[in-house]
């Protein structure tokens, strides 16, 4: 701000810049930043969640003990289940931030292109085109998943404190497997485009890093899909029962 032209402009303009939070939330680039950060929070949670799920292959004792340990993290400094609730609060904030931004940005995008072209052709990759519907599928899945395996509301014969038995129970039904595997496929596609996009939004992407970021997105998508889906497959093939 050294030039005299700018000083003149500064002297005549009285309006101030809004706060950083305001600037972020009011801008399309800012809302995308909210989506990127909340998406990465959820993604890192999923990596841990997937690794925890794999404990099912070590038997009911280990799996149930792990589930119990999740409730005792941080004790005695933290009270029973506090750490878990802390994680839940962060996750809910991330889901809400991600969904509200996605909804508002999508509304804006649709308004910005009211009439399509007469000459139609497929635009962008499948993963890119299915981000919105994939996101809705995932949101519905999360609701079912919590009602099924956390609260047990939609799970007849749910046994609190016995996650191993509950998981085997769910994946012994055909619909439990279908819902889960479809949702995991949607998740893999969502991550494949979402992870790379988050890097672009946060300004980490550039020409030299592009290949690394795309590979990392593919690896994350495949590893998470394989890790999560291995559990219903193991129940179906009676490796876990």
């Amino acid at each position: 701000m050294a030039s005299s032209v700018d000083d003149m402009a500064l002297a005549t303009r009285t309006d101030k810049r809004p706060s950083m939070t305001r600037t972020l939330w009011d801008s399309t680039v800012g809302k995308k930043t909210v989506m990127a950060v909340s998406g990465l929070i959820m993604l890192s949670y999923l990596v841990v969640h997937m690794m925890g799920n794999l404990k099912i292959f070590f038997g009911a004792g280990q799996f149930n003990a792990y589930a119990h340990w999740l409730r005792t993290i941080g004790e005695p400094f933290l009270h029973y289940e506090w750490a878990l609730w802390l994680i839940r609060v962060v996750l809910v904030a991330a889901v809400v931030g991600h969904a509200v931004s996605a909804y508002q940005l999508s509304r804006r995008d649709i308004k910005a292109r009211p009439s399509g072209y007469v000459h139609k052709r497929a635009r962008a990759s499948y993963a890119t085109r299915t981000m919105r519907w994939g996101g809705i599928i995932l949101a519905l899945f999360i609701v079912w998943h919590i009602l099924d395996l956390t609260t047990g509301t939609v799970h007849s014969g749910f046994r609190p404190g016995h996650p191993y038995q509950n998981v085997v129970d769910t994946f012994s039904t055909w619909y439990g497997n279908v819902i889960y595997i479809v949702a995991m496929a949607a998740l893999a596609l969502h991550i494949q485009h979402g992870f790379w996009s988050a890097a672009q939004t946060l300004g980490v992407g550039n020409a030299t890093r592009d290949r690394v970021l795309k590979t990392l997105a593919n690896v994350l998508a495949v590893v998470l899909f394989a890790g999560f889906v291995s559990v219903p497959v193991a129940v179906m093939t009676e490796v876990v029962s």
């Binding site: 701000m1 308004k111 910005a112 072209y117 635009r123 981000m131 939004t201 300004g203």
Partner: protein
């Protein structure tokens, strides 16, 4: 060559438009796409019909005036401007769909002509450097590292045609805005207004009603000047940096 054209005809901004079918004959493969449309218009004028309105100026691929979505692709099947697209890219007997840029920020004025002044207002918001004018300064007075000069030049190639907006499923102007911001922000001459430029230009882009970026990559594929997709990431980086400094920057 004999061709069937299906062209978007719209009387003015307020009336509804529709595709109209025309047959054109005697098209040479050496004609540019615009010369082919000139041939059509000559016939229409002789028949006493209203010629098809379309934007064009230099016809050398450097001004950014020509537009047209041809068979669903901005500037047609080749990676160039419509004026530099030749009829040899098509075959005898083809049916070709010709439509205007589609975006709510680019309203149709008439037929294939759209109002792209939203781009001008984005430039007015910060696509300049403030210097006291006078005699041209000594070229070597301000050293610019070669990679920075190359980066700036790559982005300075943008001719502001709007193909990026036309190709984007969200009608987003991120590639145009990023090209203009990156071009100036990397240079020492652009440094004093580095933060205000990106904040104001992105703000203006949003105000004009362009959509957001979903990284589909359609813009960079359509761009006749090859502005790369990572430009958008570079602009996002500049924007986030400026947002952190916003308090100090002032207005």
């Amino acid at each position: 060559m004999k061709l069937t054209l299906r062209v978007w005809r719209q009387k003015n901004a307020n009336s509804p438009g529709a595709m109209a079918t025309y047959d054109v004959d005697g098209i040479s493969t050496d004609m540019s796409f615009l010369e082919m449309l000139d041939t059509l218009n000559e016939e229409l004028i002789l028949k006493g019909e209203e010629p098809v309105a379309f934007d064009h100026d230099c016809r050398e691929g450097i001004c950014g005036a020509c537009s047209l979505v041809i068979n669903g692709d901005a500037h047609g099947p080749e990676r160039t401007t419509t004026c530099q697209l030749h009829m040899r890219s098509f075959s005898d007997g083809d049916t070709i769909d010709v439509e205007p840029w589609r975006a709510s920020a680019f309203p149709v004025v008439k037929d294939l002509v759209v109002d792209r002044s939203a781009f001008d207002r984005i430039i007015q918001a910060g696509g300049y450097i403030s210097v006291p004018t006078g005699a041209a300064p000594e070229a070597h007075a301000t050293p610019v590292p070669k990679p920075d000069a190359d980066f700036a030049f790559e982005h300075a190639e943008c001719i502001g045609c709007g193909a990026c907006v036309a190709a984007c499923p969200n009608g987003s102007a991120m590639l145009f805005t990023s090209a203009k911001i990156n071009h100036l922000n990397v240079l020492p001459q652009g440094a004093p207004e580095r933060e205000t430029r990106v904040l104001d230009m992105v703000g203006q882009m949003d105000d004009e009603g362009f959509g957001g970026c979903t990284l589909t990559g359609e813009c960079a594929t359509a761009c006749p000047k090859g502005i790369p997709l990572p430009s958008i990431a570079a602009m996002n980086k500049e924007w986030l940096r400026a947002t952190r400094k916003a308090k100090k920057v002032g207005r």
